[in-house]
């Protein structure tokens, strides 16, 4: 089960790198946007890893808190960056 978790984490990490690589091809962004996006992705991956390990160990409270306190801010960070910095940049560069 532990090996499976590491495998899935690897898959998710690879997908995240692909997603960020796609973004870098599509739009030119400031360094701080990249820093925010990478932090957000890492927070989400860390939260998933934390929660997966906790749920497997049967400590559901820790897993839940991991998802809320790591994945939650990660998702919020990515959404806010997308709404206010990335999406406008897409529109600007499309023109």
């Amino acid at each position: 089960m532990e090996q499976m978790q590491w495998f899935l984490m690897g898959v998710l990490f690879t997908l995240s790198v692909f997603a960020l690589a796609w973004l870098s091809v599509k739009v030119r962004l400031q360094w701080y946007v990249w820093a925010g996006m990478i932090t957000g992705v890492l927070l989400i991956l860390f939260g998933i890893g934390w929660a997966g390990a906790s749920f497997m160990e049967g400590i559901s409270q820790s897993g839940s808190m991991g998802l809320i306190f790591f994945c939650g801010p990660g998702i919020v960070m990515i959404i806010l960056l997308w709404r206010f910095l990335i999406a406008p940049e897409f529109e600007k560069q499309a023109k």
Binding site: S60, I68, G72, V76, I79, R83
Partner: protein, 408 residues
């Protein structure tokens, strides 16, 4: 004719509905029969090394058991006591012995309870019952007077203390013929009760008025309910509360006045005004979801078909939860809502899986939990519909019949 009847030509929907109701009634009856209190077996379970014999001298309430060890009668007796805690009925065994002044308590033993495990952990960790040892039966036994409540489990503390007080004072008066020198607890309207009543009043105002002030009032109620109803008092209504009412697990107004105000406000607004004020204005979890929704700005639409199916999912989940509650006669066991986890970080197994799903879901779908999973919201809205249809039958259909009751 329902869709099921059209498709199959057979009223499957009605049969499933009838089965659900019948099974709930049966589970309720079985639970009530199985929950009959057998004092002696409860005592033996807690103290297996001694024998118990019901006192023939003290025939009046409270019930008293003599304790025997190796055939010899011990100086202590056990006075049985029943009361209501936060989750339901509690049974206590109060060990007492005669003294020159009358009698004193040696130990209070919790024999049976329906409290939420997280609250019981607090009670046990703080060794709440230890403070009763050595106290005279003539003491007041009033929380915040001569008894200290456990922070975060105040209602349970009050319930246990009330149960001890009633049994001990009754025994002191009837069995020991002592004069009532103790004080009775007084009911007082605290600042907490004023805040909750104010929240409901402001919520009513913001619903019925359309001016600018009503808009600001609505924001004030949102913040107030999040801070007070959510984080401070953790008063969210859950399925266990509603099931508890059916099982008669209702705290006294003295013990938990906020519960009465909350229920009167939530159910009263539905029954009297025909509006679901609780879900729209007071529920702190709704406020959390709205804030997350504002933050993300993403509003994924749920197809009406999925919305209809989610209704069936809520009915199914709440049926399972109610079956568990009625069979176990333990309201905390069936409540799957994540409110207590959100606001006081207390919960059991599956509830911890639900909380992140509900919060993350509400980032993308407005009122995700309310629409997809919340049984309280569904039942309150159903009550609004039922009230409206009854009113329409009696007074004829009014123009305002098609008022929205969904949570959008």
């Amino acid at each position: 004719m329902s869709p099921e009847e059209n498709i199959e030509g057979f009223p499957w929907g009605r049969i499933v509905e009838a089965f659900a109701w019948a099974s709930l009634v049966i589970a309720f009856v079985i639970g009530q029969i199985a929950a009959q209190t057998d004092y002696e077996s409860l005592l033996i379970k807690q103290m297996p090394d001694v024998e118990f014999e019901r006192s023939q001298v003290n025939r009046e309430l409270p019930i008293v058991y003599n304790i025997k060890k190796d055939g010899k009668q011990l100086p202590e007796v056990v006075v049985m006591s029943e009361g209501t805690g936060y989750g339901g009925p509690i049974v206590l065994g109060i060990k007492a012995k005669r003294t020159d002044e009358g009698a004193s308590l040696s130990e209070v033993i919790l024999l049976s309870h329906k409290e939420t495990p997280a609250f019981m952990d607090k009670i046990n960790n703080k060794q709440f019952f230890r403070q009763f040892a050595g106290e005279s039966v003539s003491n007041n036994f009033i929380v915040d007077d001569d008894i200290d409540a456990v922070s975060g489990a105040t209602v349970s503390s009050k319930g246990f203390t009330t149960a001890v007080r009633k049994a001990v004072h009754l025994g002191a008066a009837k069995h020991l013929n002592l004069d009532a020198t103790w004080q009775e607890p007084r009911w007082h309207f605290d600042v907490n009760e004023i805040i909750l009543v104010s929240l409901f009043v402001l919520a009513f105002y913001s619903v019925y008025r359309k001016d600018k002030l009503a808009k600001y009032t609505r924001y004030a109620v949102m913040i107030g309910s999040l801070v007070f109803v959510g984080f401070y008092a953790n008063l969210s209504i859950n399925l266990g509360n509603i099931a508890g009412i059916f099982m008669g697990y209702v705290p006294t107004p003295q013990q938990h006045p906020l519960w009465w105000i909350m229920m009167a406000g939530a159910l009263g607004s539905v029954l009297i005004l025909g509006r679901n004020i609780y879900c729209h204005q007071i529920c702190p979890f709704k406020v959390v979801q709205d804030l997350l929704q504002k933050l993300s700005g993403i509003k994924l639409r749920i197809k009406p078909e999925i919305q209809r199916k989610s209704r069936m999912l809520i009915f199914f989940l709440s049926w399972i939860a109610l079956m568990l509650i009625f069979l176990s006669t333990h309201p905390a066991l069936g409540s799957y809502e994540p409110f207590a986890m959100m606001f006081s970080l207390e919960g059991l197994g599956i509830q911890w899986y639900i909380l992140p799903a509900a919060l993350l879901g509400s980032l993308f779908v407005p009122s995700f939990w309310c629409r997809m999973f919340c049984p309280v919201g569904l039942y309150l809205n159903e009550m609004v519909r039922l009230r409206r249809s009854i009113r329409d039958r009696i007074f004829g259909k009014s123009k305002s019949t098609t008022v929205k009751v969904d949570l959008e």
